[in-house]
Symmetry: C2
Subunit: 456 residues, 2 copies
């Protein structure tokens, strides 16, 4: 069956996933004599680094997401498939889709990761993570509704619960969310709500490890804590989450004397930034995975024993590093790997050897609310406004590069400099009539004639 195909047609490169890695791979094969098929469950590529801005109503979903088709529209050797891949048969070189099959000559496996609750999947409904547009819009809805309900709460305890926000996980996502909520409450609440005192808002960031942003120098982690504290965020280090329910979380923390103390924090809004894991798809490959479930690849990014199957991005454990530690799950790694793989495929077609992957670390940065961030590159260390400005320029630069859309910069600058968040919409999913339920109670109308705080 395969022989005639090989002869009469260009090799078929199937790219699984249209994240930074997958899309870059497709674009790097633009001029290669191959047919490229990009398969993704979503019709859009997401600019993940700014997803928290959607969750915090600073940007609209469309500002950070582009239909994959329009990104690749100009690339004639590329086809886009909206499909769910259920398993991969490396021997037969076939992807099993939920509704068909897809053969390949070369595979670029770049599915990315999903939220992981470390065996506590039941927590997800109470503490959504931040991986998709839907996640971001749901988080936006929960945070904004909490403020709205706090404005009308009768009961002081309930108002306290509504104004308490717990963010779990001290990585970049958790830090960005915690910082942004603190600012949202300071700015929006202060200016637009009449009865709620923004000073009452409480943001708690919970990190199980000894420090936040562990991928940075220890010194910068400490500075990040300072900057979060300036914003009023209560950072709890070495604190583990034992339970999450709709009324709050239970935290376990070691006391000075070493005894573990548990504390219950009452909060209506709990957000998950604690961890991600590769999709279950990895298990269907039948290749060795690391403890985190990531695919362990060869120095040339191929899967062991399959020279035509490559794996890139944060679903991969690349251990061939100077210190033997896996590379971080950041977009620069995925994009650099994508270019290496694209070159290797072309080389393979000419019977040449694959390229070994070498990662060039340009540095990392994390933002902490408006005008605050930390950044490190080479020997350089930045904090505060300088770091934030660098962060802003770099991100807008890449975002424009990938969207080439002025509106983003304007919407962005607009919400940053005016605080008026255009994307601050509370919307719900369209439901067929019979599924629509009445709005929740537990809040009240103001006592008739109650004087608004602000005009008092």
């Amino acid at each position: 069956m395969r022989e005639p195909r090989e002869q009469k047609r260009l090799p078929h490169v199937v790219i699984l996933g249209a994240g930074f890695g997958g899309l870059t791979a497709a674009q790097s094969l633009r001029r290669a004599p191959v047919r490229v098929t990009v398969v993704d469950r979503r019709n859009h590529h997401l600019f993940q680094p700014l997803l928290y801005q959607v969750a915090m109503a600073g940007l609209s979903p469309a500002d950070i997401a582009s239909p994959i088709r329009s990104v690749l529209r100009g690339q004639r050797n590329a086809t886009v498939l909206l499909a769910e891949v259920t398993s991969i048969d490396l021997e037969r070189r076939v992807l099993q889709l939920s509704d068909g099959t897809l053969e390949y000559d070369y595979l670029i496996y770049a599915p990315g990761t999903q939220n992981s609750y470390f065996g506590h999947d039941e927590w997800e409904r109470f503490a959504p993570g931040l991986k998709s547009i839907e996640d971001a819009v749901e988080i936006r809805r929960r945070v904004l509704v909490a403020f709205e309900r706090a404005e009308r709460a009768i009961d002081d305890d309930e108002r306290k619960r509504l104004l308490t926000f717990v963010v779990i996980g001290g990585g970049p996502t958790g830090v960005e969310l915690a910082g942004a909520i603190a600012e949202l409450s300071k700015t929006v609440l202060a200016r637009e709500f009449r009865r709620t005192d923004p000073a009452r808002t409480k943001v708690i960031l919970i990190e199980a490890g000894p420090r936040i942003l562990p991928s940075f120098d220890e010194e910068l982690s400490l500075r990040a804590v300072d900057q979060l504290s300036d914003l009023g965020v209560d950072v709890r280090l070495g604190a583990r989450v034992n339970a999450i329910d709709q009324d709050g979380v239970v935290i376990a923390q070691r006391a000075a004397d070493g005894r573990a103390e548990t504390e219950r924090v009452e909060a209506r809004t709990v957000l998950w930034g604690a961890g991600v894991a590769p999709t279950p798809l990895a298990k269907t490959l039948g290749v060795p995975l690391d403890r985190g479930g990531r695919v362990i690849v060869e120095p040339d990014l191929t899967l062991p024993g399959h020279r035509e199957a490559f794996a890139i991005g944060d679903a991969v454990a690349f251990l061939h590093t100077p210190d033997g530690k896996p590379l971080p799950g950041v977009s620069p790694v995925a994009m650099q790997q994508a270019r290496t793989v694209a070159r290797s495929i072309v080389r393979a077609m000419h019977g040449e050897a694959h390229e070994r992957f070498e990662y060039f670390d340009k540095g990392t940065m994390a933002t902490i609310g408006r005008k605050r961030a930390i950044a490190q590159t080479g020997a350089l260390r930045l904090t505060g406004f300088a770091a934030w400005l660098t962060w802003l320029v770099v991100h807008i630069w890449y975002l424009i590069g990938f969207r080439n859309r002025l509106a983003v910069m304007f919407g962005w600058a607009y919400s940053y400099f005016t605080y008026k968040r255009g994307a601050r919409l509370i919307t719900d999913h369209w439901k067929p009539p019979e599924e629509r339920e009445a709005p929740q109670a537990s809040v009240r109308a103001p006592i008739a004639g109650e004087r608004p705080r602000a005009s008092a």
Copy 2:
């Protein structure tokens, strides 16, 4: 109970609904010695005239919606309440909320309208209307998914169903949707899909009456049909819908010989632009309603027998017109009524008589896809590009006025002039894990190695 309040406090004006009427009323009372409370079920005001652009992925929800709080943020005598009003007691001057009560001294009733299926509510799930952001996003999802699935359909009949779009109702909304879908398929399909031939897309506009856009001159209605036909839209006049299900619609039409013929149109996407009706709330007022369920108001826009209760907007039948016909349900009417009512309330506080409402008709316009529209004002009649340009300028002008946001103009110009629709996202509502279902089948992967149409 009331006496002491009257003395020690400013009169309480409650505005029900934050549409064009309600918001304008609130803003017109900015300097009045009153306390204003705006009650709405949504946290955002919607720029309805451009809602179809969200449904057609030309704009993002946030481009045409603003949080009510931020619109009124600077107005210190105004408070915003996110609440559902369940009934109104005009005698006791109390609004019953789903979660409390709200007393008023003056009421401005401006709830607007909702989709109406003329007793066929079961049609809604198959043919969503276009009144809310959720509606628009759902329509966007259905249209885009139809294109995606058509690209992969095995069966020709199924592809035909997927590429057939039925729009019911020849009013402005129906015409805008039909025209926009025709263009979306011409532009987006043609450029980005590899296997689907855009020429196969079929858009059918169904109007029960003898002509579309009946609020315009007959001559302009005819021109509108011409312009729709240029876009490839099949306009059916005098056609009634007998049934709607997930596979299509049944249309009844009078043949030349007067016999009623029924025809079944197979279509996966059916949209409803056929009618709106006031919310059921009107019935709780206990005042006379017209056949359409609209509140019949006095010349001063008060409810009969209640000088402190005013009603404005498209939930109202204002019959005190030269020809005795009710005013159209358009934003200029609502906004002019709002200003009249605001003045009347201030006059009443000084013991003066209310103002009579006089409508000044600036003209009307409707757009028919890119570069096509019709407009009439006074004796002036415009069609084609001139009308479209007028329409564009007027709408952007008002949108900017109400949003004061450059990003809109850019996003707008961007999608109009590049055809790249940034908002073209297929997203779903965030669901708790157990409610997530697998993607639908009925589509297939391409036969391995199938040559993309465009590169053939």
